[in-house]
Symmetry: C2
Subunit: 444 residues, 2 copies
C-alpha cells in the first residue's frame, strides 16, 4: 500500500488546530458538540455512517423497532456544525509520536490523517472471555447487523418449530438461552417472553408459542448486580412471572449448535443469546497504554493518555472509577459526560480530573415493568417503566427529531403488535443468491 | 434426501379439500382472503415470512422508508382466518400428476405436501435478458435485500466521493445510471435527484451533491410507455427539471464495474441500477406449460392450467391479455383481481374467464410530481401526486394497520429529510466480520 497524496482531510491553508475524533457514538458526538463554537477544525471518523442509540438495540433485535428508528446518519447529527467534517473509514493504524492516524478507505491506498488533538471513542464489542469459538453458535448484540441477525434467528426458530413434528426437535427450537443477567440480558429475556406469549401466540397454528422456554443465566448470585438488592429481587420475580427461568450462580462451560452446558447439566437450545460482557474495541491493541482485563485503557485523571496530553479516550473503551473507587459502568451517560469533559478541555478549558455525576440507573423488564434507582429513590413497576420510556424517548428524539418511535411504541403497547417482525436473508443466503460467485461446495 | 414422514401439513382426519397457495404476495393473499369462509383448508407457502408491498420498494432503496414499513408478516395478515396456515419453505419440486408439492425446509429432509387445488403466485424476478454477468455490477430491485443493497451502494458512493480528491474518480462515484424508463426507473431517478439536491446537499463538506449526474436510459422512444404520450412527455420534462438526463432509444450494450456502454459511447459510473424488466420466477421452469418470452405461463381463460383445472396461476408469473388483446402489466391490481377470481372459483363459484378491470395507472416522479391516468382522466403534478399518495397509503394501511408510514412521509415532505439513511454492512463484510470462517484469500 502507498499513502494517498490527495488527502482531503489535510488542508495546509487552515491554521486552526485539528481535533480528530474516532467514533461517532455517544462519547465522540459529545466531544464534537462541545467544540461547536471553538476555534478548531473537527473531523469525526467512523466505520459506519450512523450514530447508534445502543440502549434500544434490543428493541430492534426483538422486532419492536426498525433499525432506522434508533440510528441517525452522523452527518445529519452534525449538519449545522460548520467546523466539523465526517469521514466514513476504518482506522488501521495510530502513530502517537508522529501524531498521525492511518485509514484505509479503499483498501488499495491509505490515507494518513494528521491531528493536533486526538480523541478515541470507539466503544466496546462482545467479550467471549477466551471462548471465541462460542461466537459460532451464540449471538452477541452490539451492532445493527447483530440485532437483525438475532431477530432473524429468533423468528426463524418459531417458523421451523411450526413445521417440525418431532417433539424433541420442536422443544429445542423453542428453547432460548440468554447468557448474562445485566440490563441487556434481562431486556432480551423479558421481551422474548412477551413476544412468544402475546404476539406469536395468535399467529401460529401447530405450535403453542406459550410453551417457549426462556432461560436467563447469570454467574453471580443475583441479576442486575449494579442495582440495589431489593430491585434485583423485584426484577427476578417479575421475570419469573413472565415465565423466564432465572438461573443465578450458574456458569456456561460450553456452547454448541444444539445447546449449552452448565458443568454437568446440558440444556438443548437452538438459540443462544450472549449478553455476558463486553471488552474494549480491538483498536486499543494498537496502543501502548496500560489496560484492564477487559482491554479498557487506563488513562490519567483528565482522560488523557499518560505522557500524551493531546490524546484522550472516552466511553466504553476507558477504565475509570467513581469517587468511591468503583469502576464506572459502560453506559451512555458515562460516555456523554466524559465526551463533554474532554470537549471542554479542547475548547480551552482547565484540565480538571473527570468526575462522574450519577443521575441514576434503570433497566426495563417488559411491558409496564422496569426498575429505576436515582440516589436513594427506588422505583419499580409502571412508574419505573414510564420513567424509563420518558428518559429514552427524550434522548432518542433529540437525535432523531421524529416521533415515529413514540408512535410505534404506543401502537405496540396497546395492540401487543410487533411491526418490524421481518426475517431478512442471512449473510450466507445473501451471498448465495446475490452477486458473489456461487460456492459449489456449499451444502444446501 | 428422504421424504419426511412427520408431515404437519397432511392431516388424514381433515376431510376438507386442501388449497395450497405458493407465494404470499398480492395474488396469493387475494386467493386466501376469498376463501375465508369457504369449506376448505388453506396453506400458504412462502420462502420469506413477509408480504412485501412492492410498489413502495424504491422508497426503501432511497431511504425514505424502513423495510418494516412496507412489509408485514404473512402470519399476521391471515391471523384471523382460522382455516389458513402459513409455512416458511422453499419449493423444490411440483408433481402435477401426483398432486404433490415438494419443499425442503431443513435441507436434509424434504416434505411432500399433497393438495387438492394448487395456486401458483410466486411473482417475478429481475430479467437480465441473457446478460447474466451484468448482475455482478448492476443492481436489481425486487426484494427487501435488493433495496437495502441499493441503499448501501448509493449512500456509500457519496461517502467515497467525500473522501476522494481525484476529480475523475469523484465524478464516476457521483454518476448514477438507471436502466429502464418504466415506473420503477422513473421513481428511482427522480428520488436520486431529490436526495442529492435536497437531502445530502446539506450534509457534505467536500463534495457538492448537487453535481450528481443521473442518467435514465430507455430503449423505446419514450419513458413510461404504458401511459398516454402527453403524460410521458410531462414526466420527461419534470425529470429533466430535476436534473435527470433522459436518454430514449438508447440501448445498453455492456455493463462493468466502472460504467456502462451504449454502443460506441461510454458512461463512467460506479452505480448502475437495473429496472429494465422482469421475468417469471424460476419456479416456472419446473412446469411443462406453454410460456411467453419472459417465462410467463400461458394459462387458459379462467387462469387454470391446460388440462389441469385444479391448478391455477396468478400475478406476475402469468401471461394474460386485456379485452383488446394487449398483455396485462405486472402490477399489483392485476395480481389481486386474478387472485380474487381464482379464490371465487375455488370457493365454489362458476368457472368464468378472467377479465381485468383497469381502474387506472399511476407513477410518481418526485415530491409533488406524478402522473395518473384513469380512463380518459389524466392528472399531472400535485393532484396526481396526492392521488398516488392516497391510493398507496390506503392499500398499505390495510396491510400494516399503522400510521408510521404516513408520519414518515409527512415528515420527509416538510423537512426534506430521509430518516432511514443507514448504510448497513454488505453481505461480504457481514461474512467477514461475522460467524463464518474467514476466507484468507479475500482482499481487504
Amino acid at each position: 500500500m502507498t499513502p494517498d497524496a490527495a488527502n482531503p482531510i489535510k488542508d495546509p491553508h487552515d491554521a486552526r488546530p485539528h481535533v480528530l475524533i474516532i467514533g461517532g457514538g455517544f462519547g465522540g458526538l459529545a466531544v464534537a458538540r462541545e467544540l461547536k463554537a471553538a476555534p478548531v477544525r473537527v473531523t469525526i471518523l467512523d466505520r459506519t455512517n450512523h450514530h447508534l442509540f445502543q440502549p434500544l438495540l434490543y428493541q430492534v433485535a426483538m422486532a419492536g423497532l426498525s433499525p432506522a428508528d434508533i440510528a441517525a446518519p452522523i452527518r445529519a447529527v452534525v449538519r449545522r456544525q460548520k467546523n466539523t467534517s465526517v469521514y466514513l473509514a476504518e482506522v488501521t493504524g495510530i502513530d502517537i509520536d508522529r501524531k498521525i492516524v492511518e485509514v484505509a478507505p479503499s483498501g488499495l491506498r491509505y490515507t494518513e490523517i494528521p491531528y493536533d488533538h486526538l480523541v478515541l471513542a470507539v466503544g466496546a464489542e462482545t467479550h467471549w472471555f477466551g471462548n471465541e469459538s462460542w461466537a459460532d453458535h451464540a449471538l452477541g448484540l452490539k451492532t445493527i447487523d447483530d440485532a437483525l441477525e438475532v431477530r432473524r434467528r429468533v423468528f426463524t426458530a418459531f417458523e421451523s418449530a411450526e413445521r417440525e413434528r418431532d417433539t424433541d426437535r420442536r422443544r429445542e427450537l423453542m428453547t432460548f438461552v440468554v447468557v448474562g443477567g445485566g440490563p441487556t440480558g434481562v431486556e432480551l429475556a423479558g421481551a422474548l417472553s412477551e413476544i412468544s406469549r402475546f404476539v406469536l401466540a395468535r399467529d401460529f397454528r401447530e405450535i403453542e408459542p406459550k410453551l417457549t422456554r426462556i432461560i436467563l443465566i447469570e454467574g453471580l448470585d443475583r441479576i442486575l448486580g449494579s442495582f440495589d438488592g431489593s430491585l434485583s429481587e423485584h426484577a427476578r420475580r417479575k421475570l419469573e412471572k413472565l415465565g423466564v427461568e432465572v438461573r443465578t450462580e450458574a456458569r456456561v462451560t460450553s456452547i454448541d449448535a444444539r445447546g449449552v452446558e452448565l458443568g454437568d447439566e446440558r440444556i438443548e437450545a437452538r438459540t443462544v443469546l450472549w449478553a455476558a460482557g463486553v471488552r474494549a474495541s480491538p483498536l486499543t491493541e494498537l496502543l501502548d497504554v496500560p489496560k484492564d482485563r477487559g482491554g479498557r485503557l487506563k488513562v490519567v485523571e483528565d482522560l488523557s493518555f499518560p505522557g500524551h496530553p493531546e490524546v484522550f479516550a472516552v466511553g466504553d473503551m476507558v477504565y475509570a472509577e467513581d469517587a468511591r473507587g468503583r469502576p464506572l459502568p459502560g453506559v451512555a451517560p458515562v460516555a456523554m459526560q466524559q465526551g463533554k469533559h474532554v470537549g471542554r478541555i479542547l475548547a480551552g478549558g482547565a484540565r480538571q480530573p473527570f468526575r462522574y455525576r450519577d443521575k441514576g440507573n434503570m433497566a426495563t423488564i417488559g411491558r409496564s415493568a422496569a426498575i429505576a434507582e436515582m440516589g436513594s429513590l427506588k422505583l419499580t413497576g409502571f412508574p419505573a417503566w414510564l420513567a424509563w420510556l420518558f428518559v429514552h424517548l427524550i434522548f432518542l428524539i433529540g437525535f432523531r427529531n421524529r416521533a415515529a418511535v413514540l408512535l410505534d411504541w404506543i401502537w405496540n403497547y396497546f395492540t401487543y403488535g410487533r411491526g418490524a417482525r421481518l426475517i431478512t436473508q442471512s449473510p450466507a443466503e445473501r451471498m448465495r443468491r446475490g452477486k458473489s460467485k456461487p460456492s459449489d461446495g456449499e451444502s444446501k
